[in-house]
């Protein structure tokens, strides 16, 4: 089995053999929502950070009891899974004030509406600024420091600066490797599809980082000998919020669009910016996690606008597809702003609304087909 095959299959299930082995060895796992959570702190505490997904969920029947029909379906499904005990492999959960949907879902966790393992469960919501400036960085530093101390206290471990530096270095390595992978996508004949990349990104948050890095290095070597994809109709940038279903990207690519870059949670937002390895670790983490390229949760749209324009240029993008989860107000308003700006620059842009479960695929197929026809090379 190639490294690509090994990595990409981890996206199909909530857990995987790596997680099972980790647990068998007595390892602890802390789940987290959103890419503002410093996984290095969890890692430096000797635990496995795991990005929360709702993979495999087929219903939100239970989750709906403590959300509403106007809550985003990712949150409804994820809460449903929590209530059904699907996350019992976790020893803790960290979230932040990401958006109205996540905070309300987290309240259901706080109010003990979910089915958790018996031992004391670590539960924390970080208060992360919405703005990016010096006071916000200072606040974030304090918040990360409190987070670190609470992890130490709850799990009875010590997180040393030395351990943090090692973790930062390891995660930076992951980020550099992923950037190398993205570099390959800038070519005329990219050796990987967007769907494969999404799978790899999911794997990057669902297994020990050291093993992931090893496999990714191997994969990069293997890709050198792989025939690239040249029969695409258009090079696409895929943007939007939480997207964890590779089938969604596969559908776009089946129609001839090749996703060559993105602005996704399981995408550039997770790894694009590095942590400064020469600064005091907590402060460096705070700066990186606040200043990194963000989603519309942060009130800094002009930064994202510029970043998208740079991606379009660097990856020779022919068109942008913005996918947004229904009821997400942040993407619901930022998407048209991006579209207005893209049109000014002559970059075609399509906005697609979606639910967590793949639905209305016929309609999506028609819209993507029509979009590709308008921009076909």
């Amino acid at each position: 089995m190639t490294a690509l095959e090994e990595l990409t299959r981890q996206a199909d299930t909530l857990t995987n053999p790596y997680i099972e082995r980790w647990k068998e060895k007595g390892g602890k796992i802390v789940g987290y929502y959103c890419t503002h959570i410093p996984e290095e702190i969890i890692h430096a505490a000797g635990m496995l950070p795991y990005v929360m997904r709702a993979t495999g969920s087929t219903s939100s029947e239970l989750g709906d009891l403590y959300t509403s029909h106007l809550s985003c379906t990712f949150c409804r499904h994820s809460l449903d899974q929590a209530m059904r005990g699907e996350y019992k492999f976790l020893d803790g959960l960290v979230a932040l004030n990401s958006c109205d949907h996540i905070t309300r879902m987290f309240d259901a966790w706080r109010y003990d509406k979910v089915d958790l393992p018996g031992s004391p469960f670590y539960l924390r919501l970080l208060s992360i600024p919405f703005t990016v400036d010096a006071p916000a960085v200072e606040w974030m530093t304090g918040e990360f420091d409190k987070f670190k101390r609470s992890v130490e206290e709850h799990f009875q471990v010590t997180v040393t600066d030395e351990a943090l530096r090692r973790s930062i270095s390891t995660y930076n390595e992951k980020r550099r490797l992923l950037k190398s992978l993205y570099e390959l996508r800038k070519t005329e004949v990219p050796p990987v599809t967007g769907a494969e990349i999404l799978r790899v990104l999911i794997a990057s948050t669902s297994m020990p980082v050291e093993e992931f890095n090893q496999l990714l290095k191997q994969m990069l070597d293997e890709l050198g000998g792989r025939d690239g994809f040249s029969d695409y109709r258009a090079r696409l940038l895929l943007a939007g919020g939480e997207l964890e279903d590779p089938a969604y990207v596969e559908l776009i690519e089946e129609l001839g669009g090749l996703v060559v870059t993105d602005l996704l949670c399981f995408g550039v937002r997770a790894f694009w910016d590095l942590v400064d390895e020469d600064s005091e670790p907590i402060a460096a983490l705070a700066r990186r996690y606040l200043e990194r390229i963000s989603c519309p949760r942060m009130v800094d749209y002009p930064r994202r606008d510029k970043f998208i324009k740079d991606l379009v240029k660097d990856f020779k993008v022919d068109g942008i597809i913005l996918q947004r989860l229904k009821y997400c107000d942040n993407w619901g308003c930022e998407s048209p702003m991006i579209q207005w700006e893209a049109r000014k620059d002559g970059t075609p842009c399509l906005i697609l609304e979606r639910e967590h479960l793949m639905s209305a695929m016929g309609q999506m197929r028609t819209r993507v087909q029509a979009f590709l026809e308008t921009i076909e090379r």
Binding site: Y66, D100, D107, G142, C333, E334, S335
Partner: protein, 408 residues
Amino acid sequence: MAENYQLHRGLYELVKGVPQSEGNLMADWLGGVFSAVDEGRPIVYNQFTIFSELMVALDVQPLCPELWSVVSVAADKYACCESIDAAQEVGISPELCSVDKTLIGDIMLDKMPPPGMLMLPTFPCDNAKIGYQVVAHLTGAPIYFLDCPYWMDDEEAMDYWVNQYKGLISFLEEHSGKKMDYDRLKEVTEESNRCIDYWLEGIELLKTKPLPMNGPFAAGFMPGLTSLGRPTATAAVKASLDTLKARLAKGETAVPEEKVRVVWFYYPVFWDGGLSRWMAEMGAVIPVGLIGYYPAEPIDTSTPESIIRGLARRSLETPMGRQGRGPSDIWIEDCLNAVEQWQGDCVILAANPGCKWLRGMYGLFRDICRERRIPVMVWEVDFLDPRITSEEESRTRIGQFLDTVMER
């Protein structure tokens, strides 16, 4: 350019001669807005959780966009529909709160004077944060966000928040070209303290059973949005308080026979001004509402620092700001407190489709109310768009609920 605001101009003409309380507040505010428009002075959009004291002290004209929309539908129940549709037509999410869709649409259709600057905190919801950014994008106006920690549970968080408030003063100074006069701010804050004292006294009197008066104290603290810190605001609230006291002294009650006390812990249905009167005919009164629930504390005006700190602290307690800046606990506890203190028999929640933050906590609230045997009614109705749920449907559902409560 003024001809584009005819609805509000007309309303201004109507209310400027009204001699008492709320009418005067409205006239004072709209008059100020139109003077600024006509004289080309910048207008400051103050989101509804930012009260007016700083703007009054700096002598810049506030325009609370949410209030502008409320005024629209109070005058014509379908007034916001065109703007809502316009926003959706350019791609704004249909699920966005109708207040923010109206704001965006009003700007696109030139139905609201454009902002010289915008300011809002990072609460209570995603709608406002992103909606105001769209307006800033469309108009090019500078925008200031007061970043609020999610957990306001220690002095560190309060210090951070106070610094955000100081940043707001700098922002206002920079973009208005005016310098804050702290003696003037002291006067304004003292006036604000007086006004709020009257307000709190009024709210307290509404705990009386049977209720002496349905009306302004439960319906919302409008002075905060328009002119808090000006004598006109204080006079308006005092006039309402005097009326309330007089009714109490005479033993007058809101309805001949009070059958149900409703805690209305959300916004009113702004386009349906007759709803509370209709409920009153059934013997149902509303002693407390979310937007009248304002547990403000007096501000120490001894130093500029104490004033700013006091204003910042009080700004965390604004209706809906207080409940929307953190975990569900605050709204739930406030609502339960309202039931207890104002002797509520039930809770009615007009569930605006845009309010995901509030809708997401109803499940937890429902469980608690079941334990405590508090009847709760939640029905979906858009507070600015009458096309979502009709007046008739609302009345049918509320009527059935009230009948059930009365039978208990």
